[in-house]
């Protein structure tokens, strides 16, 4: 058989006897179905570059936890700077030194 597979050995000599190689003069009618999007809402932004995140998942979870703790208190954060002056004053006056399990 003048097939593309040639005379490859097989267990049974009658295998591949039905095979007809594809004939370029007689193109196949089969067109694979293609699907096209009907909208462009899910297009990526034109300058998008996908890279691997440098921080591993553990470090990301630490930062996420820190973010969550800070987030609801954002409106009050401008008071923080003013209170820092008290810290040194208080430290000098701190009294307790008993060990207490937290």
């Amino acid at each position: 058989m003048a097939s593309i597979l040639g005379d490859l050995p097989s267990f049974d000599p009658h295998n591949f006897s039905q095979h007809r190689p594809s004939d370029p003069s007689n193109p196949s009618r089969m067109i694979p179905t293609t699907y096209r999007p009907t909208h462009n809402r899910t297009l990526p932004p034109p300058d998008q570059v996908i890279t691997t995140e440098v921080k591993n998942i553990l470090i990301r979870s630490f930062y996420q936890r820190a973010e969550e703790k800070l987030r609801p208190k954002r409106p009050a954060s401008d008071h923080l700077a003013a209170e820092h002056g008290n810290k040194h004053f208080r430290a000098a006056a701190s009294s307790s030194s008993t060990t207490q399990g937290l």
């Binding site: 921080k55 470090i59 630490f62 208190k73 701190s94 307790s96 207490q100 937290l102």
Partner: protein, 539 residues
């Protein structure tokens, strides 16, 4: 992944089937179910050295001489012999010699007269095949208190870290620490991450960061402790010169007064900046305290509630926070450190009850503390349970990623959950589990025979961590996890005929080669030096 248990069928199957995505190493490891170190040579006559470890890539066997002053490196090789008969032939006589399995490469003297090599310390830099060793002089327990030192920590006159190229035994670089204390047992005070080395000086509370260059030099990168950034010291010195001139005028006024007080005062001022009681807290302690303050501050929104909660949680325990010292350090990635803080008398005790311990994640680039946990924190435990692999950071060798932990193995996770359910109180369980954080570097063997998805074995008798175990007379069984759950091989650490003297306690240590089916078990009694060395291999 393989449909058959027969090794030949598996080899043929490997030719035609591709493994599931990113599971090629797991599939290759299945072959270790077929090739097991089932044959044992008992009581091999071996040179009288302390065998320490196989390197992670399996190229070298590291051992130290009995007097702890020399390093001897062997190359593991494989037994080769040929026979003419097809039938079962006993091994030739020379098979039971140590030399058939290991060829000595060289022997180097690392320690001088009064120093000893610390035989529990060894770190391997796999990309360049460098080994890091440590020698130290004797430990002094009641050392003279120096102004910067933490009281209660012993002092060692000289600790030297030696970087050696293992291919030929050439000493490349050394770094010495004087009158300091670094916890060298089982690599606890030192952590190696790729080419970054973190050495924790317990006595002076400083984390020294060094980089191992390709040329073999140890370069100082940073010292975190009193100063957080590299130029902090310069900044403080330049601003302190202005302060010193003011102080001098004050001193001259008081000199006319009581002379005894002044000499003490002069002494204090003439010390370098980090003096004891009257000046700043160390840089990292300041970062820690301000983080705790801000965390408690942000919990409440009302100002009066804030102040109350601060009083209760922060100022009440302020002195305890100030007295915390760094006990252990680990890299989480190139920029983040996990630091364990504890009280001065806590430290490395096994019981976590009485001494509070805290964990902090510190970013070295921004010098910020990112997170702070107590050792009974449940959210840290959740992260530990889910992402345990990311705590045991692996360097560039590929098969260190596959060491079984409860994040990557269903069986280990089941065991952990069983222990969790069995525990009486959850916070005690959490404390017990978090005792293993921060992890020590390179303390687990990468051998696939410890892979829980391949074999089941008694964790108390043998495990991937390289610690001594109590030896038992019964052999240690490795049972396969897959169907059928048959015994694959046994390791009997004792001499072949059993020990005649049943009273003496024996401890046993196992060294498994990372990728060959070869293992050494060394059994020794506690007081008598001669030890029994057995070699287990696949015949």
């Amino acid at each position: 992944m393989f449909t058959s248990r027969n090794v030949t069928a598996r080899v043929f199957e490997r030719q035609i089937r591709t493994p599931p995505p990113s599971a090629s190493v797991n599939r290759a490891r299945r072959f270790y179910e077929n090739l097991v170190p089932s044959y044992t040579l008992y009581d091999v006559e071996s040179p009288d050295h302390c065998f320490r470890k196989f390197t992670e890539d399996g190229l070298f066997l590291i051992s130290f001489s009995r007097n702890h002053q020399e390093l001897i490196v062997y190359r593991p090789s494989w037994l080769t012999y040929s026979t003419k008969d097809d039938s079962f032939v006993p091994l030739p006589r020379r098979a039971s010699r140590f030399d058939s399995f290991f060829t000595q490469l060289y022997s180097v003297n690392l320690a001088s007269a009064n120093e000893l090599i610390c035989k529990d310390f060894f770190l391997y830099h796999s990309t360049r095949r460098f080994g890091l060793f440590a020698t130290s002089t004797a430990q002094i327990h009641d050392s003279a208190p120096s102004p910067e030192a933490v009281p209660g920590v012993p002092s060692i006159d000289k600790i030297t870290f030696i970087l050696l190229r293992l291919d030929d035994g050439v000493v490349l670089d050394e770094r010495a620490f004087h009158h300091d204390f670094v916890n060298l047992a089982h690599n606890m005070g030192v952590f190696l991450y790729d080419d970054l080395l973190a050495i924790l000086s317990l006595r002076y509370q400083r984390i020294h960061l060094l980089q191992i260059r390709d040329s073999g030099h140890l370069v100082d990168a940073r010292a975190i402790g009193y100063f957080c950034r590299e130029d902090d010291e310069l900044f403080l010195n330049s601003s302190s010169q202005a302060m010193m001139s003011q102080d001098k005028s004050k001193q001259q006024q008081s000199l006319s007064g009581n002379k005894e007080d002044d000499s003490a005062e002069n002494g204090l001022h003439h010390h370098s900046q980090p003096s004891g009681s009257n000046s700043f807290l160390s840089g990292i302690k300041q970062r820690l305290l301000s983080f705790i303050f801000r965390e408690i501050w942000n919990e409440e929104s009302d100002n009066t509630l804030r102040v109350q909660s601060l009083k209760k949680k922060f100022y009440f325990h302020y002195q305890d926070y100030v007295d915390l010292i760094i006990w252990k350090v680990q890299f989480l990635d190139r920029q983040h450190l996990l630091i364990k803080f504890g009280s001065v008398d806590g430290g490395v005790t096994r019981s976590a009850d009485h001494h509070p311990a805290f964990f902090a994640v510190y970013n070295m680039e921004t010098t910020d503390i990112v997170a702070f946990f107590q050792n009974s924190a449940e959210d840290l435990y959740q992260l530990f349970e889910q992402f345990s692999d990311h705590f045991t950071v692996s360097s560039s060798t590929p098969f260190m990623n596959f060491v079984t932990s409860h994040s990557n193995s269903v069986h280990a996770l089941e065991q952990l959950k069983y222990m969790k359910n069995k525990a009486n109180s959850f916070s005690q369980f959490v404390k017990k589990m978090l005792l293993s954080l921060p992890f020590s570097c390179q303390s687990q063997s990468p051998s696939p025979y410890f892979d829980q998805s391949l074999f089941r074995f008694d964790e108390k008798l043998i495990s991937a961590a390289d610690r001594h175990r109590q030896s038992s007379d019964n052999p240690i069984k490795f049972i396969s996890r897959r169907q059928p759950q048959t015994l694959k091989f046994k390791i009997k650490p004792g001499p072949e005929c059993g020990s005649a003297d049943g009273r003496s306690k024996k401890i046993c240590s196992f060294l498994f080669h990372p990728h060959l089916p070869l293992a050494i078990s060394i059994q020794q009694t506690l007081f008598m030096p001669p030890s029994v060395v057995n070699i287990h291999f696949r015949r």
